[in-house]
């Protein structure tokens, strides 16, 4: 049997100096990812971390695993190739709201649609940080940035909604500063077979400081965040005094212990439900009427692209009629030339590239 690998967080740190701004939310996220990897009992060399462009995408350089810092928006496509080429690898994608929702939006939705077994950490700080403060596709309408001095006039993407719209099988949400919760969520994402999207509400201290403060503030955490657990009732509040119920197909916040409502009346979270309608409502909940849904919102089983590719190759190969190139080249319609006037063949590379020897 497999021996227990006793990695620590240090085994996943590279010798490179980490160069995010002091106080950046990225530090906490990286620690959580490293801790998660150390606990996974997967051989270190099986990890590959792929990123695009943006502050968060410097991530691979700070890891001691195999890493590929690719180009803007394409991390999901590059990682799709890595995982399809070698499904045994444990592949993580580090991306931001600009990288995955704007320039890489197309690759993002198609990754989710294919359900390739990748773990995607989407750092959502609702701003372009690396280019110093322009609005992103997740910036709220009306928000003033350097490129929207009079406020944006466009609505934002809700990442989870995009995941559901693309037929996603796993979506979770967490706050950067809540390292312990991050670890739990990352571990669940890593366990899930298929594309796991984790949206981390990340704080950019320089260009968008406090953008998630209303939600993230630990003082109000219990009131403003609903920590979902599969199979448990959806309860929140300082005294666990509030919960969600379904009324006419819509989610509603109700006080427990009033109007005869008991904990037994509260909706139980089912992350494995394939019908996305309640998951969609959870994803769309906003303050102040609702708490923000945190944790694993959706985790359903479905066929996984890289496994299906491997399986198809095995199935088709098992019944193959040609076993190698020599046989393939001679399959189908061929004919022999062997006339008295025929010359002896000269191999191409001998004739055209005599310096290359067979």
């Amino acid at each position: 049997m497999m021996t227990e690998l006793s990695y620590t967080i240090k085994d996943f740190k590279s010798e490179n100096e980490v160069r995010w701004c002091p106080g950046c939310g990225d530090y906490a996220i990286m620690n959580a990812v490293q801790k998660t990897m150390a606990d996974m009992n997967v051989p270190h060399e099986q990890f590959a971390v792929i990123s695009g462009i943006g502050c968060s995408s410097r991530f691979p350089y700070y890891m001691s695993t195999f890493g590929f810092h690719s180009i803007h928006g394409r991390a999901t496509a590059v990682a799709s190739g890595v995982k399809s080429a070698n499904p045994d690898l444990n592949v993580w994608v580090i991306t931001g709201d600009g990288d995955s929702m704007a320039i890489g939006g197309n690759h993002f939705i198609h990754l989710v649609r294919r359900n390739i077994d990748l773990n995607v950490i989407l750092f959502n700080n609702k701003i372009y940080g690396l280019t110093k403060g322009q609005y992103s596709p997740t910036t709220d309408r009306g928000f003033v940035t350097k490129t929207s001095p009079f406020g944006t006039i466009e609505d934002s993407f809700i990442p989870g909604q995009l995941v559901l719209g693309s037929g996603g099988t796993f979506f979770a949400r967490a706050v950067d500063s809540n390292v312990k919760h991050n670890q739990q969520v990352f571990a669940e994402a890593a366990k899930h077979k298929g594309t796991s999207i984790v949206e981390v509400l990340q704080n950019c201290v320089i260009f968008n400081d406090g953008i998630h403060e209303q939600i993230a503030d630990p003082k109000h955490r219990a009131e403003r965040q609903l920590f979902l657990e599969h199979g448990k009732p959806m309860i929140f509040g300082q005294e666990n005094e509030k919960g969600l119920v379904l009324e006419n197909g819509r989610l509603k916040v109700v006080p427990i212990g009033e109007n005869g409502i008991t904990e037994a009346d509260i909706l139980v979270h089912d992350a494995t439900e394939t019908d996305p309608s309640i998951h969609l409502q959870l994803i769309r909940m906003t303050l102040p009427d609702f708490p923000i849904a945190m944790g694993v919102i959706r985790s359903v089983e479905a066929l996984v692209y890289d496994q299906e590719l491997r399986k198809q190759i095995e199935t088709v190969s098992a019944k193959r009629k040609v076993n190698n190139m020599d046989e393939l080249l001679r399959s189908g319609n061929t004919w022999e030339v062997n006339e008295p006037t025929s010359s002896d063949p000269v191999p191409f590379f001998q004739k055209k590239c005599p310096i290359i020897k067979a």
Binding site: G67, S70, S80, G81, A85, L329, E339, P345, A358
Partner: protein, 613 residues
């Protein structure tokens, strides 16, 4: 048989043409295959509209298929046709300029009615006079009504009956050129095995066409073309796209790697994807991506993960892949990009051939971004250049762009099948010693780095698109950047050591005129030069398959000739490149941008005109 007029020819060119729904591509392909099996050397050229179904009966909707065959080596599909098969008036109009003076036009007289003349925009009732084709042999054949007659007992609907018309034409042509029909019969029987009525009706019409020729032999000339004398071996017909796909597959087998193709469908390159998608049995991973960018990015991911990675595309797709090619240059991953060139710019002429992506392949990226550029020259040698592209990429850790074109990709020719043992070894630079491994430590001679991929214990490292130092760590030092830019260029130039010298066809010691060509025009330039030499002219040919780096003796070859004429299907891109890379010569130009290959005649005329100047 004494009434039959028998014409013996060295080589014959036939052009099948009709409405794009008339099945001309199938007819031409079946005839070509039967001809190759008979032992003639052949070269084919499908010429079809980009609309799947342009309005029926119009000139825009005409689909053509040209084949040349003969008993000597055939290098081109022929300039002008000896025989044109025209299924409607539009086909005559579209192809009038492709018929050889004195050639034969066989046409479906039933389709020459007012309606079809109007659709083809003829202004008179005599299309042949209108097109000045009076001196051609015209053979009216009631193809539609004879097809209908021969199927009258089959109880088929009119549409299905008309769909068999092409078989009548095929049978007739088989008689004219004395082709055995067993191959065609087998094809039809296998292809439609589940529809016995379709098999029987098609065979019936095929034979009706053949018998019609035999019965009417007083009016149809018969041509004899003996089998070609070529090298011994097992042969098959192959088109350029299939040859390209199989070249990649052969390289993967030789290198001991899995083949990964990331690709997005695009005319005329899609068949490379199709051919490899069919090969799950040999372990090929094809990934049909959401766009061109994902096509190359998935391939780059696969290269990072240790597969032989390839992406296939055509001009507009190459433009979209530019940034990721730059990443391959920077990361120094083995990657092959095949560009089946088509007419541009923009969407341009998707189904037509051109050589206008040369400078895009060489320079179309941000930054100093050198890649190796190769070009195949015939449909079948796409196999070898695809193979060589992989060998270079894997042994030198460098991206390679392979240029083919629509003419090569869709054209076919008989090919002596090589044994895998004939092909050179491929030794990927897979790292072995983790204690000495650094991501960008280089071989002192070739400057190539080593290749280590996820899963290899002890080789963990990071790569990326930022400038880096030897360890792969991000580095913005000015000296380091200058040095790395020079190294990446030098690494590409050093590939010249793997390449053969430039050959001269003709006067190897020098002479008056050197025709220079590259890539897919080889068949036409070599044939033109051969004919001019036969006529006693002092003309030689240097044909390039290696664009970057150029063969080591390029300057030496050029210096032996008084006049250099660069012939290419663009406005002078290779000539411009040569002026830059091999200065000191006057490069004269012959250029064509019609979406069509050169013709031998126009090449000769242009070169001869330059000689007179």
């Amino acid at each position: 048989m004494k009434d039959t007029k028998v014409i013996e020819l060295e080589e014959v060119t036939i052009r099948f043409s009709g409405d794009s729904g008339d099945g001309m591509q199938l007819t031409g392909t079946l005839f070509s295959d039967a001809t190759a099996l008979f032992g003639n050397d052949i070269s084919t050229f499908p010429d079809y509209p980009s609309e799947i179904r342009a309005p029926q009966g119009t000139v825009g909707g005409v689909s053509g298929f040209q084949v040349q065959f003969g008993h000597k080596e055939i290098n081109t599909p022929g300039d002008d046709a000896h025989v044109l098969i025209a299924m409607n008036p539009a086909a005559v109009k579209a192809n009038a300029r492709f018929i050889r003076p004195g050639g034969t036009i066989i046409y479906d007289v039933d389709s020459f009615n007012q309606k079809n003349l109007d659709k083809a925009k003829f202004s008179t009732n005599d299309p042949f006079v209108e097109l000045k084709l009076e001196d051609f042999t015209k053979i009216p054949v009631p193809i539609t009504s004879l097809t209908r007659e021969s199927l009258k007992d089959f109880g088929m609907d009119n549409k299905s009956v008309l769909r068999s018309k092409n078989m009548f034409a095929l049978g007739l042509i088989c008689w004219m050129f004395d082709r055995p029909m067993d191959y065609i019969e087998n094809f039809i029987s296998t292809k439609f095995a589940k529809k016995p009525v379709v098999v029987e009706s098609n065979l019936k019409v095929l034979h009706s066409g053949y018998n019609y020729g035999m019965n009417m032999q007083h009016m149809t000339p018969r041509y004899l073309v003996d089998a070609a004398a070529i090298a011994k071996g097992t042969y098959r017909n192959i088109n350029g796209n299939q040859a390209t796909a199989w070249g990649f597959l052969a390289a993967a087998e030789k290198a001991g790697l899995d083949l990964f193709l990331g690709s997005y469908p695009i005319t005329p390159a899609t068949d490379v994807l199709t051919a490899l998608a069919a090969r799950r049995d040999l372990g090929v991973k094809t990934f049909q991506a959401e766009d061109e960018i994902a096509g190359i990015c998935t391939a780059l991911g696969a290269a990072f993960a240790g597969d032989l990675a390839v992406t296939s595309t055509s001009g507009p797709g190459l433009a979209l892949k530019s940034e990721a090619i730059g990443l391959a240059v920077m990361a120094e991953l083995p990657l092959v990009v095949v560009n089946v060139q088509r007419g541009g710019p923009s969407t341009g002429l998707p189904t037509k051939t051109e050589q206008s992506d040369l400078l895009q392949a060489l320079y179309g990226r941000n930054g100093e971004s050198p890649v190796v550029v190769l070009a195949a020259s015939t449909p079948s040698d796409c196999f070898y250049y695809a193979y060589l592209s992989c060998k270079i990429a894997l042994e030198r850790m460098v991206p390679v762009i392979l240029l083919t074109d629509g003419f090569l990709g869709n054209g076919s020719e008989p090919w002596r099948i090589p044994a895998m043992a004939e092909l050179p070894k491929i030794t990927p630079r897979i790292a072995k010693d983790s204690s000495k491994f650094k991501a960008y430590r280089r071989d002192v001679d070739t400057l190539a780095r080593e290749w280590a991929f996820p899963g290899m214990e002890g080789f963990q490292h990071r790569i990326g698109g930022l400038e880096k130092n030897e360890e792969g760590t991000v580095n913005h030092d000015p000296e380091n950047h200058q040095r790395n830019c020079e190294i990446r260029e030098a690494k590409v130039q050093k590939v010249v050591e793997m390449l053969p010298e430039l050959d001269v066809f003709g006067d190897t010691d020098g002479g008056d005129v050197l025709v220079v060509s590259w890539g897919g025009t080889f068949g036409h330039t070599v044939s033109a030069v051969r004919e001019m030499r036969k006529e006693g002219k002092n003309v030689s040919l240097a044909h390039f398959n290696f664009i970057k780096p150029l063969p080591a003796n390029t300057r030496e070859v050029f210096s032996k000739f008084k006049t250099i004429v660069v012939c290419e299907l663009n406005l002078g891109q290779f000539a411009a490149y040569l002026r830059d890379q091999v200065p000191g010569f006057e490069y004269r130009q012959v250029n064509k941008l019609k979406g069509l290959p050169f013709t031998i005649t126009e090449l000769k005329e242009n070169v001869e005109k330059l000689l007179e100047d």
